[in-house]
């Protein structure tokens, strides 16, 4: 028995559990471009979805996952926008790093978010937590932090890590940020006591930070909040007891965040978290094909097997398809010039870093 036959047997077994009414696209093969190497976040998402998608389409088309690493995923995404077939046979798995690069502006990007039609969006939530040494005593306790400088460690300035620093600084907290950390480096630095604030996605938070919270060495401070399809901000459903950044802001300043700063934070939030994991068709795909994919993904999401198998990796967030996914996408499309100028200035004064578009 080869690995492949075992794999196919597994896929077959899964198929039995799926509801009838598969969508007919008349395709025998579907290519999914993953602009990153094997094993990354967007690769994992596609591999989780692929066997279910195959069953949800008539004729069980072969789903080929095509990894194209390099250049932060930008060259591959550029190629996809240029070359992808518009008949539903080409899908792409987009990730937060591509959205953030697009929001911040990068001369290498030859696409805009409008070039994609999202068919499946898996939002991610994130928790910002602090060390008790900062003086904070509980969630949203900005007052007790006072003049204490928080120390944060991030990967790159032009990645979603900057959002954490942006939010903390908007709360009026002094943050010293240290850059160039490797994957997971912020959390290990926090555990060593070298860093005093960190941010983790909810999945990683539950696995690695919750034990610290239980031991009293970490305090969950706030979530970045999720943005619903209508553009409103809601509490993270996984951490309903934690305030969102926007709530804490209002509590500190007495009024909600507004103006260009609000729009910049929203755009980055959507790019980094809400739309962080997206499967999309190229723009210009006919509506019937989009509808067929929407129905297929709706069926997948409703499948209890799928829910059980992805709960751990997707964190149990409400998944979006079709119009809902499109709406979430549209909120973060492009930052207006005023918001962008504000962000540019914030980057310059706080991180000594130039962004340009």
């Amino acid at each position: 028995m080869t690995l492949k036959s075992i794999l196919f047997a597994g896929i077959g077994a899964l198929g039995l559990a799926l509801p009838a009414g598969a969508q007919d696209l008349g395709l025998s093969r579907i290519n999914v471009t993953v602009p990153f190497g094997e094993g990354g976040g967007s690769d994992t998402l596609v591999r989780a979805v692929a066997p279910y998608l195959q069953q949800a389409l008539t004729g069980n088309p072969t789903i080929l996952i095509r990894n194209e690493p390099g250049g932060g995923g930008l060259p591959s995404t550029n190629r996809f926008v240029q070359n992808a077939a518009r008949d539903g046979s080409d899908l792409i798995s987009l990730s937060s790093s591509i959205f953030v690069a697009s929001a911040l502006g990068n001369p290498q990007i030859q696409f805009s978010l409008g070039d994609f039609t999202p068919v499946f969006v898996a939002p991610v939530g994130a928790v910002i937590y602090v060390s008790p040494s900062t003086g904070a005593t509980g969630p949203g306790d900005v007052a007790s932090i006072g003049d204490t400088t928080l120390i944060y460690g991030g990967g790159r300035q032009d990645s979603s890590d900057a959002l954490t620093v942006l939010e903390l600084s908007l709360l009026g907290i002094d943050v010293q940020s240290i850059w160039g950390l490797e994957r997971g480096g912020g959390r290990i630095g926090f555990e060593r006591g070298e860093l005093t604030v960190d941010q983790q996605t909810s999945v990683a938070f539950n696995a690695s930070v919750q034990p610290l919270v239980d031991a009293g060495t970490a305090i969950p401070f706030m979530t970045t909040g999720l943005i619903a399809a209508d553009g409103s901000i809601v509490r993270d459903p996984v951490f309903p007891e934690l305030p969102t950044f926007f709530e804490v802001y209002e509590q500190v300043h007495g009024e909600p965040l507004s103006g260009p700063a609000y729009r910049a934070v929203m755009a980055l939030n959507i790019a980094a978290l809400t739309a962080g994991k997206t499967i999309a068709l190229p723009e210009g795909t006919p509506q019937p094909v989009i509808d067929a994919y929407t129905a297929a993904f709706d069926a997948i999401i409703a499948n209890p097997e799928f829910q059980a198998s992805t709960e751990a990796s997707l964190g149990g967030y409400p998944l979006m398809t079709g119009a809902e996914a499109q709406a979430a996408f549209d909120v973060g499309d492009t930052m207006d010039d005023e918001a962008y100028a504000w962000l540019q200035d914030w980057y310059r004064t706080n991180l000594n870093f130039e962004i340009a578009r």
Binding site: G10, E38, P51, R66, N67, Q176
Partner: protein, 654 residues
């Protein structure tokens, strides 16, 4: 705790997990034997299978594969003089000369036994320290990591060869090459010449292949003979085993260093083999045979590289922080299986943790066992004329290069570094020193910058582990420098002196080119922010001084600085230009026609023209190697880039 350890063992044998473990172990050997293909590449081929497996079987397979890569790669390193994976480059240094002297079987069996012992040591250490390992890792903060990296850099002194100036210059060159891309502190674009291709920095594997593999292929093709200079290969297997038992202390020390460096994320597990090699040389009383076929070189390196994985599992499993490319993929695989690494690996998931440790131990035994059986037969490969082996190696290294970024431009980077490597090899510029600089540069820069931001100088010095490591680094440096200075190099014969002096203009090319590169780097860096340029500027300045000193020493014909391997009496019947054109032709064909069609064309041409092979032999060769890679790609659903003129990928075809 003991109960779950036993449960894991029983679980491994009473489920299908044991079969996956064996499959993984065999795949690991194949990946290890294929030149330059290492654990990370093997795991990325495996990830498509892993999704949906039960965690115990999946991890048994993944660990089984990772554990035996460092056993299988010994074979390629010893017999062909080409690293089977990045972690056994140092094995080549003494293993290959032994193979040339007809002692391939001895080197192999010593290597396998050392690999086995090192792997078991890593697994045992992991078991023993599992409950306290988290705490130990937490003791190593940014200052301690910085000192560990400096410990690695210090081994450059012992690996520089005869001229320290040349060693420092080439190490600085490695660092400058590695600082291309984003500056970690400021996020600025650095030394990219405005090319987006360089934004991510240079891919490690292309540099390793260029500097370590291409020069060996070029040299062997030019010599146009078999690898072994003896027609018969003695058994030597038993002697190899005895060698290991005689050097128990080296095994233990090397495995210890391997595990420790492996356990520290951000130190650089990729250069453990060189660090340990440097240490083995330093500790030995009689150093005269190293590099010419000293079995201790093989034993030290092979014990360490199998022990790395045991150490590397600590931060990966207990913190979710991977220390290397292969453990980063292992982490992804775990997350894919629905398991979040972290403290729960010692609690709810403890049985899986023990399954992984058992898999590590068992795979090492399986891997070494299979290799022992094969050693004698495999050693016969050294009796085949190299012209038959070379084209397959060129295809294999191209595959290893393309597998990383799927970017055909990387193939030309291999040629560029290959050219540099040929010069380094010929004129005595230490290639290990280059690699240590290249690999450790980004970690050193980041860790230096982070430490200096978080710690005051006195705060740094008041940490006990830092002081201890400072002492170690100082001892290493002083010892190596004293060795360097006390060794008086003289010319072997007056005739040799004359010949070496005659090629001085050629020898001067390399240090002058390096000086030019350093000067250009200094000029290009001038506009960056202080935090982004300070570090590479220092490196370039040190490199510039070292390169100029080396040039001056060569100009003054100092014996220690003069080196030209072409004057040492080896016959080179095939002109270098011809070999260079073949390599260039191979890369052009691969780029134009894609990997599969391109390599089939190249193999056919090379075998027909250089080896004058018969059509059936060519067909067998092409089908064999292209078929093997086609099978690997098809099974794992991995893509290679299309050619410019022809797209031929298994998926598009079948």
């Amino acid at each position: 705790m003991g109960g779950s350890m036993l449960d894991a063992f029983v679980g491994l044998f009473t489920t299908t997990a044991i079969f996956y473990l064996m499959f993984g172990a065999v795949l690991g050997l194949v990946v290890g034997i294929l030149p330059a293909l290492g654990g990370a590449a093997g795991l990325s081929l495996m990830i498509p299978f892993i999704y949906g497996m039960d965690p115990a079987s999946a991890m048994a397979m993944a660990i089984g594969m990772l554990a035996t890569v460092t056993t299988g790669d010994t074979i390629t390193s010893v017999l062909l003089g080409i690293p089977g994976s990045a972690s056994s480059q140092a094995t080549v240094l003494d293993g290959f000369p032994l193979a040339k002297q007809g002692q391939g079987a001895r080197a192999l069996s010593a290597g396998f036994l050392s690999s086995l012992l090192g792997g078991l040591f890593g697994a045992a250490l992991l078991t023993a320290t599992l409950q306290v390992a988290r705490q130990i890792v937490l003791w190593f903060g940014m200052p301690e990591i910085l000192m560990m990296i400096l410990f690695g850099i210090a081994s450059v002194a012992a690996l520089s060869g005869r001229s320290l100036a040349k060693g420092v210059a080439i190490c600085a060159f490695g660092m400058i090459a590695a600082s291309i891309g984003f500056a970690p502190a400021t996020g600025e674009e650095r030394l990219t010449l405005g090319l987006f291709y360089l934004y991510d920095g240079l891919p490690l594997i292309a540099c390793v292949i260029g500097v370590f593999v291409v020069p060996e292929i070029v040299d062997l093709v030019r010599q146009n003979r078999t690898i072994s200079d003896r027609p018969n290969i003695g058994s030597g297997t038993r002697q190899g085993l005895a060698d290991v038992l005689r050097n128990k202390w080296i095994v233990l020390r090397s495995a210890g260093v391997g595990s420790l460096v492996g356990a520290m994320p951000g130190v650089g597990g990729a250069v453990v083999d060189w660090i340990v090699y440097g240490q083995t040389v330093r500790a030995a009383k009689d150093k005269s045979r190293f590099g010419k076929g000293d079995i201790r070189g093989v034993i030290g390196v092979e014990s360490s590289n199998n022990a790395v994985l045991g150490g590397a599992l600590v931060p990966t499993l207990l913190f979710g922080v991977p220390g290397s490319g292969s453990t980063a993929l292992l982490l992804s695989a775990l997350i894919m299986l629905g398991i979040q690494p972290g403290p729960a690996m010692l609690g709810a998931n403890i049985e899986l943790t023990y399954t992984m440790i058992w898999s590590l131990a068992l795979a090492n035994i399986i891997g070494a066992g299979l290799c022992f059986g094969l050693a004698r037969h495999l050693a016969k490969i050294t009796l085949i004329p190299f012209v038959w082996i070379a084209p397959f190696l060129i295809v294999a290294i191209s595959f290893a290069t393309l597998q990383v970024n799927r970017d055909p431009r990387d193939l030309f980077l291999v040629l560029l570094f290959g050219a540099a490597g040929v010069f380094m090899r010929r004129f005595g510029f230490s290639r290990p020193a280059f690699l240590i600089g290249f690999v450790l540069q980004s970690n050193l820069e980041r860790s230096f910058y982070q430490t200096s931001q978080l710690y005051s100088f006195w705060g740094f010095l008041s940490r006990p582990i830092v002081l201890l490591l400072l002492l170690v680094v100082a001892t290493v440096l002083i010892n190596s420098l004293r060795n360097q200075l006390s060794t008086r190099t003289t010319f072997a014969t007056a005739e040799m002196a004359a010949r070496l002096k005659a090629t001085r203009p050629l020898q001067l090319l390399m240090p002058l080119a390096l000086a030019g590169i350093f000067a250009a780097a200094l000029w290009m860096l001038r506009d960056l922010q202080a935090l982004g340029r300070g570090y590479p500027q220092t490196v370039a300045a040190v490199g510039l001084v070292a390169a100029l000193i080396a040039a001056w020493q060569i100009y003054r014909a100092q014996p220690a600085a003069l080196e030209d391997q072409e004057q040492e009496g080896t016959a080179y019947p095939v002109p270098i230009l011809r070999v260079a054109l073949w390599l260039l032709g191979a890369m052009v064909l691969l780029t134009a026609f894609g990997f599969f069609a391109g390599s089939a064309l190249f193999l056919t041409l090379f075998l027909a023209i250089e080896a004058r092979a018969r059509p059936w032999a060519i067909a067998a060769g092409v089908i064999g190697i292209v078929g093997l890679y086609l099978f690997l790609m098809y099974q794992s659903g991995t893509f290679l880039p299309d050619g410019w003129m022809l797209a031929l990928n298994p998926w598009n075809y079948f």
